[in-house]
């Protein structure tokens, strides 16, 4: 499965169609309780949810490793070559 490549560096927006009013109200209350704007509250929730678990990280690294054959040199040697260049 191809990895989702990072694209674009602009200010991103997410538009969710048909967003549930009750959920929106719950988010508004949560934002008030935490002293944040609604946008900031939603961003904080998404930021926390976007953190990868240890298993997620392992899966991601397996996918990256599978894209390339075995390296001819290891990380330490590659870093040394880069720094001594």
């Amino acid at each position: 499965m191809p990895l989702p490549l990072t694209k674009g560096f602009g200010v991103a927006q997410i538009v969710i169609s048909g967003f549930d009013d009750a959920l929106l109200n719950r988010l508004r209350v949560r934002a008030i309780v935490s002293g944040r704007t609604l946008d900031a509250e939603v961003e904080a929730i998404l930021r926390a949810a976007a953190e990868l678990s240890a298993d997620d990280k392992s899966t991601l690294l397996d996918q990256v490793a599978a894209l390339a054959p075995a390296r001819s040199r290891e990380g330490g040697a590659l870093q040394r070559e880069e720094r001594d260049r």
Partner: protein
């Protein structure tokens, strides 16, 4: 204790070599891991060179860079850090890049973890002796 990890450790997580398991354990072990943004640049240059030598595809090189933001916290290189790095390079006889990482280790009051044997050896019997460990 904050653990500062360099490009060699990040690369070891996708290497097929013997350090892969140790690097993976470090990255998934719940440690407070931080990397200097300079590592992303080093890895970018390494991956670009690998692609140029035909050792990997463009997609593989870019995927290696894509995964980096997810692996640890990142801190920015500052002119003050660079200045201290060069000072340490003069003092210890290491490269400016190595000096930069030593400066970051000092600045973050961290332990530097590396898979770079030359970096490790160059800091034996210095003030950084106990601050640098190898995978």
């Amino acid at each position: 204790m904050t653990l500062l990890i360099d490009a060699s450790v990040l690369l070891a997580t996708v290497d097929a070599g013997p350090l892969r398991a140790a690097a993976r354990a470090l990255l998934t072990g719940g440690f407070d891991l931080v990397a200097l943004d300079h590592a992303a640049w080093e890895i970018a240059r390494i991956e670009h060179a690998r692609k140029r030598r035909g050792e990997c595809s463009e997609a593989a090189a870019l995927a290696t860079l894509d995964v980096l933001p997810h692996l640890c916290r990142w801190v920015a290189t500052t002119p003050a850090l660079v200045r201290r790095g060069v000072e340490l390079a003069f003092e210890l006889g290491v490269s400016p890049a190595d000096g930069l990482w030593l400066a970051a280790t000092e600045s973050l009051d961290a332990q530097l973890v590396t898979a770079d044997a030359a970096l490790y050896q160059s800091t034996r019997n210095t003030a950084f002796d106990a601050r640098i460990v190898t995978l």
